[in-house]
Symmetry: C2
Subunit: 257 residues, 2 copies
């Protein structure tokens, strides 16, 4: 019997240490193929390339795994992999391991999670992994243990239709991590500030900065789990309909004479 | 009493005819200020600019409305407007009118809707408008009638916390449009194809193409409403948690020895 085919992508680019860690795990559990952006694409959200061309570059085999890079976004990578690069359908799509948190509302801005959501839209079980450490020197060894367990369970049990997983891992040693918790997305948000500067010609420009603020005190949130040293697993859907609001809106006067 | 302050943005860029149509409506109902991308940003999803600088360009007043462009994405425009450009909090954020559909799962790829979702994250009532006509010569007059009605109702009644509106308008005359329907997002998807070509040097490149396929036969979907000549209004939330799947996932063996 052939091993499961696991597509590996990310948003930090094909050279990021985080994707190497994920490839090692995927290679243990199946046949991994990497299709990832050729440059960092953090914060790209669910961007796709529709007004420009795309290139695919075959990097070659590394430790038995085929690596491809593309000039596109993480979502483009999933589309190119599924429709052009892979010679059979993947059994699983994994994205990451992202250098930095994608917990709570970060999921919306995240290229890592958009790749997973795209995989889910295409009909494949998909998981995004993120480690709460943005450093290039982050230690991914504890993450690998938890990524492996979660991938094993998803390969065994599958995922419900229209649902993928957003996995965030606290920046701790494996001894310090308490386990895995299934959670909901915390109602938190970025409180932005722009750092306004002047260029050498005296003209203003801006850097986006800010702090992440959580005022959600629920005990079932991903932020709470991470703060309590747990790996958080949030099931994520691409149906954005606010079903509870449909009744509310039906009271509005939408009659146009 | 001062008139409501309405921030207008889009993803087709500040020069697009669609945004002019929305500004005309916003100006009738309040004080409009435009902060929009300086170039087309279709398909940018919820992208933000975190590894590059941003510029803001004051274009000036046109028919009494202040126009600004930025070098950023639609989401960047909302953040810059709220935190740097507007001198008071907006009463409403509107995005569009997009040249082309953002119904069904298009909401995920849409820069227009990401601007509205960002406005909602920032805590303001927000609406994205799209006309089902991608042409630069599209007739926005019927859209203006429906945009006006919906904006009036939202200014009067507000929107529930964490919810914004995704409004799609069929490409019909105002006599042909049957009215406004509150709907859910249809479970449809893009069936992608890549158009593979060779550059003059013989190297391959790709264009993303494809067809939108709807297999959702529900009577309460946005696609159904549009096909029946109605304007569709879908309440959209940024909480992506698939709540129904939490119980399902708790059966998985997530114990790591």
């Amino acid at each position: 019997m052939s091993k499961p085919l696991i597509l590996v992508t990310n948003d930090d680019g094909v050279m990021a240490p985080g994707i190497r860690a994920l490839v090692e795990v995927a290679d243990e559990l199946g046949d991994a193929v990497v299709v990832a952006p050729d440059k960092p694409q953090s914060g790209m959200g669910h961007a796709i390339t529709i007004n420009a061309t795309l290139r695919v570059n075959k990097i070659g085999k590394q430790h038995g795994t085929n690596f491809y890079s593309t000039t596109g976004t993480p979502v483009d990578c999933v589309k190119l992999a599924v429709h052009e690069i892979l010679n059979r359908e993947p059994d699983l799509i994994v994205s990451g391991i992202n250098h930095g948190s994608n917990a709570s509302t970060n999921v919306i801005y995240s290229g890592t999670m958009s790749a997973a959501i795209e995989g889910c839209l295409e009909g494949y079980p998909s998981i995004g992994f993120s480690l709460l450490n943005e450093s290039i020197d982050a230690d991914f060894e504890p993450s690998k243990i938890y990524a492996k367990k979660i991938i094993q369970e998803v390969l065994k049990n599958g995922l419900e239709k229209g649902v993928c997983l957003n996995v965030n891992i606290p920046n701790l040693s494996s001894r310090e991590i308490e386990g895995i918790k299934v959670c909901r997305q915390a109602r938190a948000k970025w409180s932005e500030k722009f750092d306004k500067r002047k260029d050498p010609g005296g003209k203003p420009y801006y850097w986006l900065t800010g702090a992440f603020e959580n005022h959600d005190t629920g005990e079932d949130t991903d932020i709470r789990a991470l703060n309590n040293n747990y790996v958080s697993v949030v099931p994520v859907q691409y149906d954005l309909t606010a079903y509870k609001s449909i009744k509310h809106l039906e009271k509005y006067d939408f009659n146009v004479e």
